[in-house]
């Protein structure tokens, strides 16, 4: 909050060096690291990233072409921060939280420089319903009241962390974000708007062990590589392997109260897609438009690189803020590699000692700090719990996972959802490689799945994994000797594994029904496919000809199970199981 600085003279320096997005200024004595500055006559936004020998190095969040030596630089006295309060949901902001709709209204179809606009609408009025009374003693994080921000989300107005006091007066009813809604006995006031520096994590009471799953709606993830609410997963994959589609699918179907989606250094049209679709699509849990629970932070590849660096911090700060209201929040970052490259570019301009592939040596530390801001916690309010689940896409050069960003991310992530070019080229989506991917949460989550879905969960999952493993061994043999040389017992294993891959692991993000799958449906599908695997193997054992089993046409039914609506799945699964038994019994008779 700027209060403490109010009244201080703005400090002014001047530019002595310009190199791309990096500018050096002198005369800014007393400026703080990470303080926001306005650069040049156009007042471009920037941040202090180094102070040395009377000179401050700035990263500028806007295009620097046209700047001249000697132009003024003004310090603002505030660290890079975001505005928090009602009006965030449904918004699209850039990497430093400038609202893009408002910028377009002011300056048209293209983004121009030097425009500042507050993230939250100052005119809009919200109906504030207090939850506190005069005389109440409040601490930081306490809920003073609520605003129905969108159809699906109630915005809880929090006392900013670090503030406390006894309430003298509360004003219910219509208010703008800057109107005072609470007056403390010592005369300080509280409005619905608060600020928070993005590079600092928001405090909470304590961390909780992740033990509930973050349900994604993707079978291969929920069944084989589930993560916990408050957990982290990374999604590395070469171009075209499906990172963006997967992140967007998660944003659509994952079980979360609030979604913060950071488009970090990627395509403009992809974000336009989200903007076109999310207001039309319904939140599977509330029926309200998806956009009602979503905040988009967008800094596309052609927007200034320094703001791209800031964008992931803007995103996670917004996510933490909703977490502090005791919400389940999911944060998607597409792509963390573009953030790392921005970091590298700025580091290079500072002539820092480069580490591997030119990335700064602190890359891993920064990534670690970022992912650690995820988690499941008891917020300061002490009310229930909130969580920030983070899924970060990684774009390894050449699709080679040995590169520094993937490796550094692997050290901090709780799960690896590895996408491969080979599967993507075959249009097997999501192209998640089941041999490389892993999750560290599986054991802790097993109890939940057994309790909430079915006690067969672990056993079926195991059996399916074994089937895929067996397929891999057989594939290697087939590659060497040809399929004709393989016994029928083995060929039926290959066939069952194919059904598992094609009918279960594969999931069509663009099919109305198949796009999202609840665990109960996933389990029913798995049960049916594995039933076929077992029964068909037994038939072969009993002397049934492979050809007859394959010709029975069961595979087509099994492959289309994903298209069966969830509510009809149990019945459809049971019917198919009966049909499998029936058909195979007849085949045996041949």
């Amino acid at each position: 909050m700027g209060d403490g600085m109010a009244g201080a003279e703005p400090m002014t320096g001047s530019i002595v060096r310009i190199s791309g997005p990096t500018v050096v200024a002198q005369g800014l004595d007393g400026v703080a690291l990470n303080e926001v500055v306005r650069v040049g006559h156009d007042g471009l936004l920037g941040e202090v990233i180094r102070i040395r020998g009377g000179q401050a190095t700035l990263q500028v969040y806007e295009e620097t072409a046209g700047l001249m030596l000697g132009e003024p630089v003004e310090a603002t006295g505030e660290p890079l921060g975001v505005e928090l309060g009602p009006g965030l949901l449904g918004q699209v902001v850039d990497g430093i939280e400038r609202p893009l709709e408002a910028l377009a209204a002011r300056s048209g179809d293209f983004i121009v420089r030097g425009v500042v606009h507050p993230a939250l609408d100052r005119q809009r009025r919200w109906r504030f319903v207090p939850r506190v009374d005069p005389g109440d003693q409040l601490e930081g994080g306490a809920v003073v009241g609520v605003v129905q921000e969108t159809a699906s989300v109630v915005h809880r107005i929090l006392v900013p962390p670090g503030m406390s006091g006894r309430v003298r007066q509360v004003t219910p009813g219509e208010a703008t974000v800057t109107d005072p809604i609470v007056v403390f006995e010592d005369g300080r006031t509280l409005s619905m708007l608060q600020r928070w520096p993005v590079r600092q994590r928001r405090p909470f009471l304590r961390r909780l062990t992740p033990e509930r799953p973050f349900l994604t709606g993707q079978r291969v993830l929920d069944v084989f590589f589930p993560i916990a609410a408050g957990g982290t997963a990374i999604i590395p994959g070469g171009f075209g392997t499906g990172k963006t589609v997967l992140e967007q699918t998660l944003a659509k179907f994952a079980a979360a109260d609030v979604i913060v989606y950071v488009g970090c250094g990627e395509r403009g049209n992809e974000m336009t897609d989200v903007l076109a679709e999310f207001p039309r699509l319904k939140d599977p849990r509330t029926g309200a438009p998806l956009m009602d629970r979503t905040v988009l932070v967008v800094n596309t590849s052609n927007m200034p690189v320094a703001a791209r660096e800031a964008s992931i911090y803007t995103g996670i700060t917004l996510a933490e803020y909703f977490r502090d209201m005791s919400y389940q929040v999911a944060l998607m970052v597409d792509s963390t590699s573009r953030w790392a490259e921005a970091l590298r570019e700025i580091s290079a301009r500072l002539s820092e000692m480069p580490g591997e592939e030119g990335y700064p040596t602190y890359l891993a530390t920064r990534l670690g700090q970022f992912y650690e801001r995820g988690g499941r916690v008891v917020p300061l309010s002490g009310d229930g719990e909130g969580a920030v689940t983070v899924t970060g896409a990684v774009s390894p050069p050449g699709g080679d996972f040995s590169e520094p960003v993937t490796q550094a991310s692997l050290r901090v992530a709780g799960a690896l959802w590895a996408l491969t070019t080979d599967l993507a080229h075959r249009r097997h989506f999501p192209a998640i490689d089941w041999t490389q991917s892993f999750t560290l949460y599986a054991d802790r989550l097993a109890a939940w799945f057994e309790r909430e879905v079915s006690e067969e969960w672990a056993a079926l999952r195991q059996e399916a994994m074994r089937l895929l493993e067996r397929e891999r061994e057989l594939q290697e043999i087939v590659q060497l000797v040809g399929l004709e040389a393989v016994q029928d017992q083995e060929r039926i294993v290959l066939e069952a594994a194919r059904l598992l891959r094609e009918g279960f692991l594969r999931q069509n993000a663009f099919h109305d029904v198949d796009a999202a799958c609840l665990p109960a449906k996933a389990l029913a599908m798995l049960r049916t496919i594995l039933h076929f695997a077992r029964r068909a193997a037994a038939s072969i054992e009993a002397g049934a000809p492979l050809r007859a089993i394959l010709a029975a046409g069961l595979d087509e039914r099994l492959l289309r199970l994903g298209e069966v609506p969830a509510e009809r799945m149990d019945a459809a699964g049971a019917a198919l199981v009966a049909e499998i038994d029936d058909t195979l019994a007849r085949v045996k008779g041949h």
């Binding site: 002595v16 310009i18 190199s19 295009e63 072409a65 046209g66 700047l67 001249m68 030596l69 893009l100 179809d109 293209f110 983004i111 121009v112 171009f239 075209g240 395509r267 403009g268 049209n269 336009t272 897609d273 903007l275 076109a276 967008v298 596309t300 590849s301 052609n302 690189v305 573009r338 490259e341 570019e345 290079a348 592939e357 030119g358 774009s395 050069p397 050449g398 699709g399 070019t421 080979d422 599967l423 249009r427 097997h428 089941w434 041999t435 490389q436 594939q475 290697e476 590659q479 000797v481 040809g482 399929l483 004709e484 194919r498 891959r501 094609e502 663009f510 050809r547 595979d555 492959l559």
Partner: protein
């Protein structure tokens, strides 16, 4: 135009394409300068770094023979701009936008910074209008839409030029809407540029075309400006004059080489394979200049062409391009060696905007499903082909043989089409014909209803237990891009 404001005679050093000038204070980042060498010669440069001690100037033309002590640097006071006008149609310019056709300079309707600005994403319109290129591998499987950026990944000697020319010819035909081509030659040989110019002429597109030429023997660093001039012109024609503009940029590999040259001269820490760490951002500042804007009639569609060094798709140039563009059309040497044209390898090819441009209202309702099924079958056929290279055909079962035969026919009948132009209906018909090799139940990527409606009568030879499913092999299984040395297609 050139208000020469300040002069400096304090150049002290030259390194590759860079000139260092001391004690310049009143210069702007990105400002254009003239470097005068004696009475008659001058070369162009641009300020790329400024500090109290010196300014760094990137010289766009040859630096040979420049003696810093004699050079006089004139600062123009403006960043790189281009005068633009509708009149540019039919004209030819050099790599920095000066007339090359002997005609007078255009009378500008506007003078624009060639850097451009990012389109605010809330004002972008989703590209969704199908462009019928007449090429089955593109229309059927990797559909191009207006406002898309779809590069061709080529290799030395592969016929990207012929494919691009064919697309340009086809793209202009469809409707009576205003259409233009902006062609930027970036460091390509005259022979190749000439091929394009003739192709445009032959198709009557010449008077609808703006040409920027930086040929192989033109200054290298100038190449950094050429695509920017082209895109500035394209945006102007599209968003001010409402035209549908197709921009052909070739060869982006030469552009990247120029970028690397400057980075090396600046002694920057190189990224992968010596290319600068900011190459992704730099390329994005070009490729993202495609699209549509809400409420404006025109569109900018980009068709960049690049050569994959060593045919390596993981090389930073194709790799970073693929990370930015909305898909890629990948040419294959193996298909070229089979003399198939266009030699498009559809497996690594992709159009990310395809779904928006196809379907019942745009192409046909069975389009997506047919494409998926063809992909699946072809991928499986290619697996079998790899296997044959190891175990020979004798080890194959009926199922494998069917896929093998399918892959061969798919290449010779669907992919290959010479210079024939196919409508989307013809393309889909060929697809269905080839899928006729499999029984209906095996076409699991196509819904029942579609099969009934579109599958030609008399298909399904009843070969029994075939699975037309591309059965993704286990990712851990031995792979390899090579086509197992099959030199010629199997005779069907």
């Amino acid at each position: 135009m050139e208000l020469v404001t300040r002069l400096a005679r304090s150049a002290t050093a030259i390194a590759g394409p860079l000139l260092f000038v001391e004690g310049v204070r009143a210069a702007r980042l990105g400002e254009m300068v003239w470097i005068r060498l004696g009475a008659s010669q001058r070369r162009r440069g641009q300020v790329i770094e400024l500090s109290e001690t010196h300014a760094v100037i990137q010289v766009l033309e040859d630096t040979q023979g420049i003696r810093p002590a004699r050079a006089e640097v004139a600062f123009t006071g403006r960043v790189a701009t281009l005068p633009v006008a509708r009149q540019m149609l039919g004209r030819t310019f050099n790599g920095i936008g000066e007339p090359l056709d002997g005609l007078p300079p255009v009378i500008p309707e506007a003078v624009l910074s060639i850097t451009g600005s990012a389109i605010n994403i809330v004002r972008r319109e989703r590209p969704s209008e199908f462009i019928e290129t007449g090429v089955s591998a593109i229309d059927g499987l990797n559909t191009l839409v207006r406002g898309q950026k779809l590069p061709i990944f080529s290799g030395a000697g592969l016929p990207a030029h012929a494919l691009a020319a064919q697309i340009v010819r086809a793209a202009r035909v469809r409707t009576g809407e205003p259409f233009a081509v902006v062609f930027a030659a970036i460091g390509i040989p005259f022979r190749e540029a000439d091929y394009y110019l003739h192709a445009f002429e032959g198709s009557g597109a010449q008077e609808r075309t703006v040409v920027f030429l930086n040929l192989a023997d033109d200054p290298t660093i100038e190449r950094l400006m050429t695509p920017r001039c082209a895109l500035t012109t394209a945006e102007f024609l599209a968003f001010t004059h409402g035209m549908h503009v197709l921009v052909v940029l070739t060869d982006m590999t030469n552009y990247c080489e120029a970028l690397r040259e400057v980075a090396l001269a600046r002694e920057e820490i190189p990224g992968r394979r010596g290319y600068p760490g900011y190459m992704y951002t730099d390329l994005a500042s070009l490729y993202e200049r495609a699209g549509r804007i809400r409420g404006r009639a025109g569109s900018v569609t980009q068709l960049p062409i690049l050569s994959m060094p060593d045919d390596d798709i993981t090389h930073p140039i194709p790799d970073l391009t693929g990370y930015i563009t909305e898909g890629q059309i990948v040419l294959s040497r193996a298909l070229e060696q089979k003399r198939l044209f266009p030699p498009i390898d559809v497996l690594p090819s992709l159009s990310r905007l395809m779904n928006l441009g196809i379907g019942a209202e745009r192409t046909r309702e069975d389009h997506r499903a047919v494409a998926d099924q063809l992909y699946a079958c072809y991928a499986r056929g290619r697996d079998v082909r790899r296997m044959v290279a190891i175990v020979g055909e004798a080890g194959l079962g009926d199922e494998e043989r069917a896929f093998l035969a399918f892959a061969d026919r798919f290449e010779t009948e669907f992919i290959a089409q010479g210079d024939e132009r196919r409508s989307i209906e013809e393309t889909l018909a060929i697809g269905w014909r080839l899928l006729g090799a499999f029984p209906s139940e095996a076409l699991t990527r196509i819904g029942r209803a579609l099969i009934e409606r579109y599958r030609p009568q008399g298909d399904n030879d009843g070969t029994g237990a075939l699975h037309a499913d591309g059965a993704a092999r286990h990712p851990g299984a031995p792979a390899g891009g090579a086509e197992g040395g099959r030199a010629a297609p199997k005779q069907a």
